[in-house]
């Protein structure tokens, strides 16, 4: 789901701001602690792998997940002055919240999952394979923050997302707009200053 916001943001941003401007701006892109994101992602995969292999590790994987998320949230917080990042922070936090209160996993609603491949639904139902997701039931806490929003035709991709995902993607979209679209007011102010001096 992260890609949707990026793709949409890039397309609209480049169309609005023009390719030349967008590409130069893209080259000079700076995010505080930006290098940590791929590292955190990598860490998550490692944890997944270890989770599968050793049961001893699985016992404290929950804490580990929380630590990774908190680190991610902290880096986002560092960037909070950049437009869009508060949205990303809010979205990630909502996802983190619902996973935290449900044992580190994302609840998926059965109604929404109907749009997905039946095979995947089957896996969710039986809980045969360990994944980041689980099927929600009446015991699930904060179900309205879980993966309950089905995306399917006419939307080009079929998936189930949470409201946190949407908020996060709005943030990504806004951030890309900020990067790729020249700010008219700022430009005008600069022009006026240049004209006066």
């Amino acid at each position: 789901m992260v890609y949707d916001g990026i793709v949409l943001g890039l397309t609209v941003g480049l169309l609005r701001g023009g390719f030349r401007y967008g590409l130069t701006r893209f080259g000079s892109l700076r995010i505080r602690g930006g290098l940590w994101f791929p590292l955190l992602l990598l860490l998550q995969f490692v944890v997944f792998e270890l989770n599968d292999r050793s049961s001893a590790f699985a016992s404290f994987s929950g804490i580990f997940f929380a630590a990774v998320y908190v680190a991610g949230l902290y880096i986002l917080w560092l960037n909070r002055r950049t437009p869009g990042f508060l949205f990303i922070l809010g979205g990630v936090f909502l996802n983190f919240l619902v996973m935290a209160v449900n044992g580190g996993k994302m609840p998926v609603s059965l109604e929404a999952a109907k749009v997905l491949d039946p095979y995947y639904v089957h896996i969710l139902q039986t809980g045969a394979v360990v994944t980041k997701h689980f099927l929600m039931d009446s015991a699930t806490r904060l179900p309205f923050l879980g993966d309950i929003i089905p995306l399917s035709r006419p939307y080009p991709r079929t998936q189930v997302i949470s409201v946190g995902d949407i908020v996060m993607n709005v943030g990504i979209f806004l951030y890309l707009q900020h990067i790729l679209v020249p700010d008219r007011k700022r430009i005008r102010a600069q022009e006026m200053e240049a004209g006066q001096s």
Binding site: A112, M136, F144, G146, I148, P150, V163
Partner: protein, 612 residues
């Protein structure tokens, strides 16, 4: 003191209003919603997200409508569609979620404004739902049998929305309730009506195509909002260009005139004070002559920048009135505050460095300023401008680099100024001693009549000054008429008569030469006009001739009739009065004639007594 009281009353009123709205809103919310969202299933939550997301997006895309810039967002169509399709409880949940989101997004807005907004919407949604249900509307698809219910719901929504918001502005910004309502309706009604119709369209889309229908609707309305936004930005841009002076970036003369009218109207209705200051750079011509126009323009821009910087934080309208003259329109400033402000500004200018400032007689940049305060008996904006101009002229006369408030010179000073002016004019009249003694004496007599008459008419000091000095100077143009014609004993030939008539025009031109007696020109030029329009030089008629000029005509003629001349019959005062009455309505203003006659008659016994 009374201002204090009204301020407290306003404060209480606004608090009461906020309290009442919030309590009603929250009460209705609880009554209709009852926390229904606790039991929502996940698909219902998806709907809540979708609809509140739509409402938030549309709120963010609020656009403004020309000319006043009233904001309008299409979020109302979402709420209305919610009411029609899902009912009040669900609509209020959508409102709650979207309000929470907007609260988080627009953190700059103070929290209680969010609360008021939420409460107002709660009231509107609850009332519209109630009306809709009462008129037989059922939640669900759009049914053509229920049109009256839809119409009723929308009408209540619209009316309540307009009323509550107008009252909000009335309470908080002290605006005229009726004017606000009128303004809102005039500008937004068509756009608002389309919101209502869009709500019905959204009902169809929601019911048949669910989220996809909503997405389509959202696309359409966002694009529309965007287009409107662009249009408004363009409108503002062009408006800005039309209202600004190109060189300085200040407002221009025509914008100033417009705002002056507007502000005077506002002051009249609210009773708040309003001051107008006119600023003129001292010895600008000297600077221009010395350094050339390019540098002179630089000086104008320099002062304009200073004005922008110093007045930017205040609610003032700074405009370039023309040339090196600027105006400051200062709402809610009385003349004393305005004088303090301008004196500070003047000192700031004195202390700023500018290339070539040493050539000024003061040794620094300076301006003179005249301030006029608005009073309710000023009806025409040009009167206020005139007063500020007079005060500016006075400030210049006192040696420049100073601020003067109109009418603030002491009585003694006024008297001294006046006698100075009288002496100046008499100096010029002295030439008549050689040329035409009669005109000299006549001018002085008319002057004395005018002094008396201005008491009778109880003129204000400015009019009195103009009227009496005008009377003294009115025949100055006769200086141009050759000695031979002025003193000719025989009847004048038609050509000579034409020449005599020219004295009014020559006199006017003489007065216009200097700044000092410019305002006396109408008395010189128009004292031979007749009430019936058969006079000269223009043939003006009735009210076209200023009132005091009509009075001067009467005095002038009366004096001519009653003056003794050798070898000519002189009319007695009684005969002259008969003659005046005979010509009242044709040559003279009848009303003023009676006034003058009663003055003469009241004077008559006194002089006879004195003679005895």
């Amino acid at each position: 003191m009374p201002n204090w009281k009204t301020a407290i009353a306003k404060l209480h009123l606004s608090h009461l209003y906020v309290l009442a709205i919030c309590l009603t809103g929250l009460g209705l919310f609880t009554m209709y919603n009852r926390g229904a969202f606790i039991h929502y299933t996940t698909p219902t939550w998806v709907w809540v997200y979708a609809l509140s997301g739509a409402a938030v997006v549309l709120t963010v895309f609020t656009f403004q409508l020309p000319p006043q810039g009233n904001g309008l967002s299409l979020d109302s169509s979402v709420y209305l569609a919610c009411i029609f399709v899902f009912g009040p409880a669900f609509s209020l949940t959508v409102l709650l979620v979207s309000s929470a989101m907007i609260f988080l997004i627009e953190r700059k807005t103070i929290w209680w404004k969010h609360l008021i907004n939420f409460a107002i919407y709660s009231v509107i949604i609850a009332s519209a739902s109630f009306t809709y249900a009462a008129l037989g509307g059922v939640r669900g698809p759009l049914l053509d049998g229920h049109l009256s219910a839809y119409a009723g719901g929308m009408a209540v929504y619209f009316i309540l929305n307009t009323m509550l918001i107008a009252f909000y502005y009335y309470v908080f910004y002290n605006e005229n309730l009726y004017e606000t309502l009128k303004g809102m309706l005039k500008d937004t009604i068509i756009a608002y009506l389309s919101t209502l119709v869009l709500a019905l369209v959204l009902v169809i889309l929601l019911y048949h195509n669910h989220i996809f229908g909503l997405a389509l609707f959202l696309c359409l309305s966002v694009l529309l909002s965007y287009a409107f936004k662009r249009m408004f930005a363009m409108y503002r841009d062009i408006e800005e260009r039309a209202n600004r002076d190109l060189r300085t970036g200040l407002f221009n003369h025509s914008y100033f005139e417009l705002t002056l009218e507007e502000e005077m109207r506002k002051s009249r209705s609210t009773g708040s004070s309003l001051s107008l200051a006119m600023i003129d750079i001292d010895d600008f011509k000297k600077y221009n002559d010395h350094f050339g126009h390019l540098k002179g323009d630089g000086l104008i821009v320099f002062l304009a920048e200073l004005l922008k910087k110093e007045c930017g934080s205040e609610e003032m309208v700074v405009s370039r009135y023309g040339g090196e003259e600027f105006t400051l329109l200062m709402p809610s400033y009385d003349t004393d505050q305005a004088k303090r402000f301008l004196d500070r500004l003047r000192k700031t200018l004195n202390n700023s460095h500018f290339e070539g400032a040493e050539i000024f007689p003061q040794g620094c940049l300076s301006f003179s300023s005249g301030i006029a305060g608005y009073r309710t008996d000023i009806h025409d904006k040009s009167e206020l401008v005139d007063q500020a101009d007079q005060a500016l002229y006075y400030a210049k006369k006192q040696g420049k680099n100073m601020v003067h408030v109109y009418g603030h010179q002491s009585l003694l000073e006024q008297d001294i100024d006046f006698s100075q002016d009288v002496r100046d004019i008499e100096q010029q009249l002295n030439l008549f001693m050689y040329k035409d003694m009669e005109t000299f004496k006549h001018s002085k007599r008319v002057f004395r009549y005018a002094v008396d008459i201005s008491e009778v008419l109880s003129l204000d000091s400015l009019s009195k000054r103009q009227f009496t000095l005008g009377a003294l100077i009115h025949d100055i143009g006769k200086l141009e008429i050759p000695w031979g014609i002025l003193n000719k004993k025989e009847k004048l030939t038609p050509e000579e008569w034409e020449m005599v008539k020219w004295h009014v025009t020559w006199g006017k031109q003489m007065a216009l030469m200097g700044d000092k007696f410019k305002d006396l020109a109408p008395y010189i030029e128009l004292h031979h006009e007749r009430y019936d329009g058969k006079g000269y030089p223009h043939g003006f008629k009735g009210e076209e001739i200023p009132r005091l000029c009509r009075m001067l005509t009467i005095i002038d003629s009366f004096d001519a009739m009653t003056t003794e001349r050798p070898y000519q019959p002189t009319k007695s005062v009684e005969e002259a009065i008969v003659e005046l009455r005979a010509c009242a309505g044709s040559q003279f203003d009848p009303e003023l004639t009676e006034l003058f006659i009663s003055y003469i008659e009241s004077r008559q016994p006194r002089t006879t007594e004195a003679a005895v």
